[in-house]
Subunit: 187 residues, 2 copies
């Protein structure tokens, strides 16, 4: 028996896109993708282009985003914005529902986990490369944090940026610690 899909609730990514629209107002699918790459990427996902468009279409069908179509030149430009209904639904989701424990897809740790197949040198190399990436990530986040300034409109994104900086600094410390353990475990 089909559970009558009809109006399945948005996925978390759907809610996240609604949230971006609530922060920034009307924008194109492309613009939304750019924004997601600068924000959601750090704590959720960087949705694929195709994913953004298909999700917007689903949200539009559900009446959660409004679409305006303009013709600029020989070209059809669509802008999306949060509808009133969308805002209500988004707030309801934020205020309810049980929150999933974070999911981590951590290839560095996977390679450490399988260290018995390579010996400790390879995980050490991987950790070294990871250290560089982490420093880059921290710089990125510091730049973002700086741009957000003290504008109260962006106080929550600012907290998120600070959370990220802290997280990655702690990852650096973990890299050191695991590195020491690997060196000691060396035959």
């Amino acid at each position: 028996m089909l559970p009558m899909p009809g109006q399945a609730p948005p996925s978390v990514t759907g809610y996240a896109l609604l949230g971006l629209l609530s922060l920034r107002g009307e924008m194109s699918g492309y613009g939304l993708k750019q924004l997601a790459d600068r924000t959601l990427r750090f704590f959720w996902v960087a949705p694929a282009m195709s994913h953004v468009y298909s999700e917007l279409e689903r949200l539009r069908t559900a009446g959660l985003v409004a679409q305006t179509v303009a013709n600029r030149g020989g070209r059809r430009l669509r802008r999306y914005s949060l509808s009133e209904r969308g805002e209500r639904v988004l707030k309801a989701w934020l205020s309810a529902g049980q929150v999933e424990f974070p999911v981590l897809k951590h290839e560095v740790v996977l390679r450490l986990f399988l260290g018995h197949l390579t010996g400790p040198d390879r995980p050490l190399q991987v950790l070294d490369a990871y250290r560089l990436q982490l420093n880059g990530r921290i710089e990125e986040l510091r730049a973002i944090r700086g741009r957000l300034g003290t504008d109260p409109h962006f106080q929550y994104p600012a907290m998120v940026a600070e959370w990220g900086i802290r997280l990655y600094q702690e990852e650096l410390a973990s890299v050191e610690q695991v590195g020491s353990a690997l060196v000691e475990a060396d035959p």
Copy 2:
């Protein structure tokens, strides 16, 4: 022009399953799923049953796992094990390739990010619930770490367990810090 798929390399999850087989030897799809739920889940994914079986079938077709079929009673039991070719391919992957930066899907942070829609109280509630979940996770990992003991065969999994304990303890500290920031930001 098609890039001649023919023999597409395994996905990271595919390699992870090969790695589990290398740690534990022959096992059923079901057993592999159980094992993944006790290991991979913490730093990669908990693959769905269907995903484990479809992945095993793909790996078998690619000659990376061997399948033995026994008839126990009226029942067909399949066991999977890492083939020699599979071990070579897995080691080659571990020794090469550029390592992706970790991906984090963190609903707690997403809700913090959208705090402008709810005000600070709701993120504070969410953080409280998260604190409980974190303590549970830490206990789980401590139990696993304990079971792994000092057996050198499991020294890398042990390092991973220790990494996880550290990570979640640091998350607890971040929860405290964000909590303070939220209380201060309260109007």
